[in-house]
């Protein structure tokens, strides 16, 4: 035990933190995409595991072909738009349940991503390209600032869009489909738009991560949906605790990114504790399951059959006496 504690190195933890923040910010953009579909449209969209890697693959291959890295990110965003729109079409025009539609696109993207890259992973020639987003230790803080500015800009754009007539119609679609149609909103179109935008953000994030880590991998998006959900949920819990009633929508979106940063800092910390990296996905899934279950369990605590039964038995005993 003592040995274990002695083996932990405080300085190493500090050194790992900036990397955690940078990754958290990059994945925060992905979490904004998940927020879009999960919270705004009320759809659990599994496309993201595939579209995240598509963004990375497209980005890496374009850079390899001499494209400007920022332009490559824009194309990554567009690939996500298309992927999301495909899921939306499968769901709304072909009547496939949203979860299944997402899985179908995700699986197709696996093949597509392999085709884009030609093999399971591709590295960026870091010496031949100037990357603004990079894990290079000397430039790490600059990367953090750049990605943070991107996050704030994207949050502001999302805030604006979701406040417009069009964005309100999208939120209404997620909140009450029957009402939306009665008010003349084409809910099918809105779902397609929302899924496209969400996956666009996810693929953009995938592109950024590929630049950050210097390579793309077909499996880089595996479990992305769970990380996205974790960020969304951690963000909501923190926002509720820190800001409470004065929470406005802009801050809500900001806390999605903050949730992602916290997730990655915890990730770094747990790894530092020598938790096996292979088990991280298990741990994440457990944490997300717990948080998703909390509202339900809270309700059950207030009124459950078990408690009703206990009360009934107590009353019965009182009556017998």
């Amino acid at each position: 035990m003592l040995e274990y504690f002695a083996s932990l190195n405080g300085a190493a933890l500090l050194r790992a933190c900036p990397g955690g923040i940078a990754q958290g910010l990059i994945w925060g953009i992905m979490a904004l995409g998940v927020y879009m579909t999960f919270r705004m449209l009320d759809l659990a969209d599994l496309t993201v595991d595939g579209s995240f890697a598509t963004g990375g693959a497209a980005c890496v291959m374009l850079i390899a072909n001499g494209w400007n890295p920022e332009l490559a990110l824009l194309i990554a965003f567009l690939t996500g738009l298309v992927a999301g729109a495909v899921t939306g079409l499968l769901h709304t025009k072909l009547g496939i349940p949203a979860i299944l539609a997402g899985i179908l696109t995700q699986i197709s993207l696996y093949s597509i991503n392999l085709n884009i890259m030609g093999k399971a992973n591709q590295a960026i020639n870091v010496n031949a390209t100037v990357l603004r987003i990079t894990s290079n230790a000397n430039l790490l803080w600059r990367t953090i600032v750049i990605v943070a500015v991107c996050c704030v800009a994207l949050i502001s754009v999302l805030y604006w869009y979701l406040g417009t007539e069009h964005g309100s119609a999208l939120r209404a679609t997620g909140s009450n489909g029957a009402m939306s149609r009665a008010l003349g909103i084409n809910t099918d179109t809105m779902k397609i738009v929302g899924l496209a935008l969400g996956n666009g953000l996810v693929a953009l994030s995938g592109g950024m991560l590929s630049q950050y880590q210097g390579f793309a991998d077909v499996n880089m998006g595996r479990g992305a949906i769970v990380i996205g959900l974790a960020a969304v949920i951690i963000g909501e819990v923190l926002a509720e605790a820190i800001i409470g009633k004065r929470l406005n929508f802009w801050l809500r979106l900001l806390f999605v990114v903050i949730g992602s940063i916290v997730y990655y800092l915890v990730y770094v910390f747990v790894l530092w504790l020598k938790f096996p990296a292979n088990d991280m996905k298990l741990l994440t899934a457990i944490v997300v399951a717990i948080f998703l279950a909390v509202p339900y369990l809270q309700k059950m605590r207030k009124s459950s059959f078990h408690h009703a039964g206990v009360r009934a038995r107590a009353q019965q005993k009182g009556g017998d006496r």
């Binding site: 309100s168 009665a182 008010l183 909103i185």
Partner: protein, 264 residues
């Protein structure tokens, strides 16, 4: 204003669950008509309203609203002509959006949703006034999440939403059935107020015969997908609940009228 020409609808055709819900129903409403619709469970009342609203396509017949043939249009394309209030108070409003956002969505019913801001200052003022007219104290709660309002309040808000953008046709499907008697009476009163103020052409389904007689200028009874009674004017005004029940028995050929029909 509304012309329904011999429409038919069969659910699950060709299966063991086949159900002829509407059998060649025709109905003409003049502008300003306020028609109450009664009939037993499964008579086809909701089906008739859904057909007009475009929830699904009809099998046969035509539907015209203000001389526009809407038979081939899905619900969201007909929405610009139609205001709707559903039986379930949860159905008519978006629970996790603010009251003011719900109203703003309704003000733009049937219009193209642009990238302009969703709620303007000027319209908020308008909403405050209209909400004050409901007399439910909602005018000071514009930013409240609608999910926090009571069923009656939500139903009143839905009524307001249906009439914000003047509809050519108002469809009310047992919109007070889920409310307690006092709230139901209040919501009915608000309905009357909104209908007469805007001179709306209205179809109102109800299970309460007294309400069916008291409200509106015309009454129709549906039975097994057909209109079996259509009265208006003096004849309707002088109608009594026992007379109406008597007629119901005659057409349905049974003595024990549906429980709900007896509620009056």
């Amino acid at each position: 204003m509304l012309r329904v020409e011999s429409i038919s609808k069969t659910f699950n055709p060709g299966t063991i669950n086949e159900k002829k819900a509407l059998c060649g129903v025709s109905l003409h409403l003049a502008p300003g008509d306020f028609v109450t619709v009664i009939g037993g469970n499964g008579a086809g009342k909701s089906t008739l309203l859904n057909a007009v609203a475009g929830t699904w396509p009809v099998d046969d017949g035509r539907i015209l609203i203000d001389n526009v043939d809407v038979t081939g249009l899905p619900d969201f394309r007909r929405a610009k002509y139609i205001g709707r209030v559903f039986q379930d108070p949860m159905m008519g409003t978006a629970a996790n959006m603010q009251l003011v956002e719900n109203l703003a969505l309704a003000l733009r019913r049937g219009k193209t949703r642009t990238l302009r801001w969703g709620v303007t200052k000027a319209e908020s003022e308008q909403y405050r006034e209209r909400l004050a007219q409901l007399g439910l104290g909602l005018e000071d709660r514009l930013t409240v999440r609608v999910g926090l309002l009571s069923g009656g309040q939500r139903q009143a808000v839905t009524l307001l939403m249906a009439s914000l953008m003047q509809p050519k046709l108002l469809l009310l499907d047992e919109h007070t059935a889920a409310l307690d008697p006092k709230t139901a009476a209040k919501v009915l009163e608000i309905s009357d107020q909104i209908v007469s103020e805007n001179n709306l052409t209205t179809l109102m389904v109800t299970h309460n015969m007294k309400d069916a007689i008291r409200h509106g200028n015309r009454l129709i009874m549906l039975h097994e997908g057909r209109i079996v009674l259509d009265i208006s004017g003096e004849e309707k005004k002088n109608m009594t609940v026992p007379q109406l029940l008597e007629m119901f028995h005659t057409v349905s050929g049974s003595d024990d009228a549906n429980d709900k029909m007896l509620l009056s």
